[in-house]
Subunit: 244 residues, 2 copies
């Protein structure tokens, strides 16, 4: 089973302080770019994989979605999502994305923000989503970038000229990476960008767009702390389509 770090009280409390937890979608600097990859949501059947507080579920419903299923492995996250959600078009369900089961050809859009890099088995999930999407349906997700996750010990290096660099090592060694982020021993999976792409293609998806996200000039001006995100991508956004 996928590590359920979000039900760790220390992690949960730390995560709650993030801009993207407090402000929702508008607290995530990559949201405008991720939103740009979405199809029109009006009347659509949607799943949000790793829905957390349910910010995207509510946004999708407010933007016309017929039904949104939010799935998360963390009961604490789902409790918060349920407290914050009133619309009857939204349901929440506790499930491990590694063993998720979904009815065939029932969905127009599968969406996920920064959850899939926790999974050991993305091949299984992509096969599940492919069969659950209607022909022409989309999978749009973000995940941590392999440049960010490659090193066994992750962190900036600053040279004598003040140039910040992100050291990459062990790129070819896919698998578990341990980081200390709000709690010790947070487990994530490093896999190459090629592995993500080939897994989608093997499941039957057509790659539509890839974005190795970085901040805009305007975003850095408004939030100077984002400047370091120009040096190396921390996450990537991907849009794939089921043919037909």
């Amino acid at each position: 089973m996928t590590q359920n770090i979000y039900d760790n009280p220390q992690f949960f409390a730390g995560y709650a302080t993030l801009d993207r937890s407090v402000k929702g979608l508008d607290g995530a600097p990559e949201w405008p770019a991720l939103q740009a990859l979405l199809p029109t949501l009006h009347g659509k059947q949607i799943i949000d994989l790793g829905c957390g507080y349910g910010w995207f579920c509510r946004w999708a419903q407010e933007n016309g979605a017929a039904h949104v299923l939010g799935v998360d492995v963390s009961e604490m996250m789902l409790n918060r999502a349920r407290e914050m959600t009133a619309a009857p078009q939204i349901d929440y369900q506790r499930a491990d994305l590694e063993t998720l089961s979904l009815p065939a050809a029932s969905l127009d859009l599968a969406y996920s923000s920064l959850a899939l890099h926790y999974l050991l088995n993305i091949d299984g999930l992509f096969a599940t989503l492919f069969q659950a999407l209607k022909p022409g349906g989309r999978l749009v997700f973000s995940a941590e970038h392999p440049i960010y996750t490659a090193a066994l010990q992750q962190g900036w290096f600053v040279d004598n000229d003040g140039q910040k660099s992100w050291p990459v090592n062990h790129y070819q060694q896919e698998g578990e990476r341990i980081s200390n982020w709000f709690a010790d021993g947070v487990k994530k999976q490093h896999r190459k960008l090629a592995t993500w792409l080939n897994a989608l293609i093997a499941a039957g998806f057509v790659i539509e767009h890839v974005d190795e996200w970085g901040p805009s000039v305007e975003q850095v001006a408004a939030n100077p702390g984002l400047a370091e995100e120009k040096e190396r991508p921390m996450l990537f956004l991907l849009s794939a389509r089921k043919p037909g």
Copy 2:
């Protein structure tokens, strides 16, 4: 016009010492992986973009290709290729890949090894190749990986524990990178992996496979110098298909 560093005598002399220059395809550790992406060549019409000494042109002809056109910007490279080539199914032509013109639906395979990262305008080349390929035709190429090209000054960093890392910076800043490799001032273009993929998709191609190449255990055992290629990808291999 693309920089023609290969006609610089100092560069040409240095390049001639590389394993991949002396031994041809078998001197390139990524060749088995690149070969695995190729369709069957029997009876096929093929172009080799940046053909250099013509090693691939000769290999393709020996493996059944009906015709191979080798294109390069360097007259010195083409002279060497012509000296080494006897088969009448192979032609060489001097051309800048930025302004190449090809007849429509005339090719089964467009191939390129480590040449396209010299080009300023890949959008134009991909459009040219898309129209020149027959429906179902393939584009298979390798290029320097953006992890390798990102930093303004490229080179390994070794920490106190002896861990080699490849510092990444300026990843989001696409454009010219200057390196000193056999000659000073060799110009290459850094572009994100996403940019390569999106340019292919925009031209009409379907992405078939991506390989952020690294050496096998057997290759490192046979050539211990390849061990550092496990730390970060130096190049990527890509296969794309024209639908139909």
